[in-house]
Subunit: 175 residues, 2 copies
């Protein structure tokens, strides 16, 4: 589904969640030029620029500072927040809850406990999703194994032998 064309102004970007920052070369940490534009943040987080702007409008992100030209300049802290949010979202946290988290973050150090609680609830949700996935995986594998047997034995779903034509057909799709 994601479009992978890399034309000049590509909106959809390929995720590179691993790359925490490797593009600024030798300057170290000059504290001012660690600020990133929306294109970089999109590349790092895997979210589209539109999505980043939308998140901000929705209050999912603490207000992002702007440069003198009115453009967004994300601090490393913002970048980390975006990456976290992207991961939360990708693992099923509803936008509403992300907003709650963001609100807590904006509210300062006094909300650490509640942020922690929120993350723990999400951790629980992740565990549930993991279980679901594992169960589905088991079922899918069992089904697949079943089909492999039927194909190998040249049988139909009721265990009756299939004719030659069908047997040839059966093997299609499994090169």
């Amino acid at each position: 589904m994601p479009d992978v064309s890399m034309t000049t102004t590509s909106e959809r970007t390929t995720p590179q969640l691993g790359a925490t920052s490797e593009m600024s070369s030798a300057v170290g940490s000059s504290d001012v030029e660690e600020l990133l534009g929306i294109a970089q943040i999109a590349a790092i987080s895997g979210l589209s620029q539109d999505t980043l702007r939308w998140y901000e409008r929705q209050g999912l992100l603490p207000q992002v500072p702007r440069g003198s030209d009115g453009r967004r300049r994300y601090s490393p802290r913002h970048a980390a927040m975006v990456v976290l949010l992207a991961r939360l979202r990708a693992t099923g946290m509803p936008v509403e809850e992300m907003r709650a988290f963001s609100t807590l973050v904006s509210a300062g150090a006094a909300t650490h406990g509640r942020r922690l609680a929120l993350l723990q609830r999400h951790e629980e949700r992740i565990h549930q999703r993991q279980n679901e996935l594992q169960q589905a995986l088991d079922l899918v594998r069992a089904k697949a194994a079943h089909y492999r047997e039927l194909i190998a034995a040249g049988l139909d779903c009721d265990g009756a032998p299939v004719d030659a034509d069908t047997a040839v057909q059966q093997a299609r799709g499994t090169p």
Copy 2:
């Protein structure tokens, strides 16, 4: 989000995917009365009755046989199919692909290979989701640990000590 009220005509049902059938008592397999109504299928699969009907209209389910009263009567085979579909859906298979699978099933034994291929593609998708979840889990745990440290040490996000009021607040949400 799911509503758990169990009033007389409950539409939303609680999943019981484990119960393959345990309600028909001693009769064994009389071949005619293993047929289940939509309410049972909903209970077994965790899908709502509306969703089951919608899936059928969408061609996600081979035509379900009807009783003399026009109601749906699901055979054990249909039931198994619904459960499989529910799990595929729950693990991110788009409806379009479920339709493709269902079409292959309806087409008979000659499509075993292609069904297998489709399931293997989904297996791959499941693995990807598992990786995503694991990465998110790691990140969430790291963040949570960080918050726990800050709370224990009574620090704010910049490593500066917080005042007493704030420290009390910090602990809220983590009983």
